[in-house]
Structure formats: C-alpha cells, structure tokens
Amino acid sequence: MSAGVVLYDWTPDVRCYAVRLGLSLMNMTYETRAADMDLPMGQRPAGLRPGERPPVLVAGSVRLSRPGAIMQFVARQPAVARAWLDPAHEWMILDWLDFGATALDTMAAARDIAFGTTLPVLPPMGALVAALRRMEDHMTARAMEGHDWFASPAPSIADVVLFVVFALTVDLGVERDTCPALRRWARRMRGLPGFMVMPGVPDYA
C-alpha cells in the first residue's frame, strides 16, 4: 500500500523533519526526493512544482504539503496502527495537531531569521514561548491524571508534531529547565521504536 509514496524533503526544514519522524514512527516506507531550497530553481528535483516548498508528499493522485494533513493521511492508511489517530480521542488529537502545526510554522519563520544571516540573531520569541508554556501546563495536568501523552493513552500524530516544536526551540535559546513536564515527555518520545534524529536533535537528551 505504501508503493509509490514519494516525499520531497529538505533536510534542515523543521516541517520536513516532523514528516520524516511521523513516517518513521508509523513505519511507512516511502521514497525520498532530496530538495535543497537554497539552490536556484533549476537545481531542484524535477517533480517539485513551481512555488512548492518541501515537505510535499505524493501518493497517487494525492499531493499534500501541510505537515498536519500529511500526518492524518499517513495515520489513516490501513496498515498503520490506529493509535496514531485513535478514533476514541480523534478531536483532541486533531486539536493539538493543529496547534503543533501552527507552532511549527512560527518556528520555521523564527529559524529563518535566526540562521539565515551571516551573524545569527535571536528572533522575537513571544509566540513560541507562549505555545511552549501552554504545552507545559497541559502536560503537567496530563501527568497528574496519569497520562503520558498529549491527547490519548498512546503516542499520537499530535505528539510527533509537538515534539519537533519542543526539541528544536533549544536552538532558539529556550532553556530546557523552563519546561520540566515537556522534558520528561520528550524523553519518552525518544524511546519510541522508529524515532529518528535531525541536526539539533541528538540521540539522547
């Protein structure tokens, strides 16, 4: 069923990492077409359409570019474990998935400012810090209720996207000790089968 799934992927992009991580955790096989968006148009993969920016997932007639939509598409494949989009907790999963996807966009923009210069500068962090604080308060409350994950008894696609937000804000100067509940949850994420790293997200920690 996964035959013919193609991901246009740009390694350092945070949204691409979220998609790679989700595909890996959900044990989905796919082909990668590497794209370097810093190169001129002519040197990008032929299949990437003008104006498109990775991640782009192509499966038959389906062509998706938003991480949240890609996560849902993969989680709804017959061979993927239902827990990733647990029907009993679907609305809460989708709510946190949307929250995470929006925060991911904010972070991508912040990283462009921080790293797209000769001298790194710290971008305005208010929106991201507010998002992390809401996540921290939520996971503190979840832990008190005996839950390990954001929206359901098992890890879901919401956890995948939110993990990327948390893991990579450290590059933007957010100190880990301000989010103890998220630190403990992130450690659980790292222990999942199929977990993968990217530059800035080391094997441990």
Binding site: R133, M144, E145, D177, P180, R183, P202
Partner: protein
C-alpha cells in the same frame, strides 16, 4: 554566605533521569542513579573533556555518560571510563565539579558554595510530596515577596502548601510547589492551576492578594 537553594521538585528527577537546571546563571546537571537505592547528584553541567553539557547525557546504572564521547562519571564525580580507551586507568584528576545536594520537603536542594549544614532553617511538616515547578518571568525578589518567603527561609508554608523559589538567571524565577501528602482537601490539579494563575498575575503585574488568599482560605478557585 553559604546557603541552600531549592532547584527542582523531586518528581522531575526520578530514578535514571537527568535534567539541566540553572542556578544564579550557572548551569548544573541534576541526575539520579538507576539503582535500587538511587542517589541524587548535582554537578557542574560541563564535561571536562570537550565542555559538552552533561545534562544532554544519559544515566547508566550508577554513572552519568556524556553524549559526546561517552565518558562515564561515577557517583564520586570521577571519570571512570573513556570508551575510546577502555584499557586506560583514568587519572583521578579527570572529574566533574560536584555540588552539595539534599532531598527535603519534596524538593532537591543544592548548595553552590559547599554548605554541609542542613536543613535550611525552620522545620516544616513531614511527609511532603512534590507538585510542580513553574518558570516565572519575574524577579525572585518579587516572587519571594508575593509568596511570603522570609529572607532567611527556603520555603513558605501556607497551610498544607509549601512554596519555594530560586533564580535560574537574573530577572527570572522558578516557583516550586509542594503539598503535605495526605492533604486531599487541596487537590493537586487545582493546586497546579492555582500556581499558573499566580504566575500569570505576577508576570502581568496584577494584584496577587486575592490569589494568595485562596490558599489561606483553603478554597482554590
């Protein structure tokens, strides 16, 4: 002046866990052994090899391993294994700077200047459980004032609820909340939400009397 600072609730540093905390602008790694009687350690958060933060590392039984090259440091803060040179007897001079650490009232207490005397003045209730630690974007002075922590005290008790603070860096505070274990009349989720409201009020400069009064009345909104 030698002093003890509360730096984390104990529920955030369980068996086999490692966490970085900042104390007065200095980076400290807290870690707990993964052994049947797991001791807690507080060290400078810096591997003597290449300066990597040890809080990115991992606990293996009774040792902390550095993420970079796997150098392992035992409970005595001495390096005891360099994986690239497993036959080498590691010289005693290779060690991490260790701070004094104690567990008391649901909190980890660290002395950056080698204090050995404990506890931190005054006696509190027995059988205390940790609730949570919150980051507050306000000065420690403001937090101590609002929470009623006396200048020489480490913790302020409001009925069954204990509040403590420390300063990660200048201008910011960490608020630690603990509770007497059997004080079921103050439910933990409500206490956690109360602490969030106190944090938000302190940060926005709003009046905090009414929120603190909820503790005194034993009626968390």
């Amino acid at each position: 002046m030698k002093r003890w600072q509360p730096v984390s609730v104990l529920s955030d540093i369980r068996r086999g866990e490692v966490a970085g905390v900042r104390i007065d602008g200095r980076e400290v790694v807290l870690w707990r052994e993964d052994t049947p009687t797991p001791a807690l350690h507080a060290w400078e958060d810096r591997c003597p090899h290449r300066g990597m933060r040890l809080s990115f590392g991992f606990v293996r039984d009774d040792a902390l391993g550095c993420l970079y090259h796997g150098w392992q440091f035992g409970g005595g803060a001495r390096c005891r294994l360099i994986p690239a040179h497993p036959q080498v007897r590691v010289p005693a001079s290779i060690h991490v700077h260790a701070y004094s650490v104690r567990e008391h009232a649901g909190l980890a207490w660290v002395s950056m200047d080698g204090a050995e005397d404990f506890p931190v003045g005054g006696t509190g209730p027995d059988n205390v459980q940790p609730v949570r630690t919150l980051h507050v974007n306000a000065s420690v002075g403001a937090l101590r004032h609002v929470t009623g922590i006396a200048p020489d005290a480490g913790i302020a008790w409001h009925g069954p609820v204990g509040l403590a603070v420390h300063e990660p860096v200048a201008g910011q505070g960490m608020l630690h909340v603990v509770r007497v274990a059997d004080a079921e009349e103050v439910p933990l989720p409500a206490l956690s939400r109360w602490a969030e409201r106190l944090r938000d009020a302190v940060e926005s400069g709003a009046v905090t009397d009414r929120i603190m009064n909820e503790l005194a009345m034993g009626e968390l909104a």
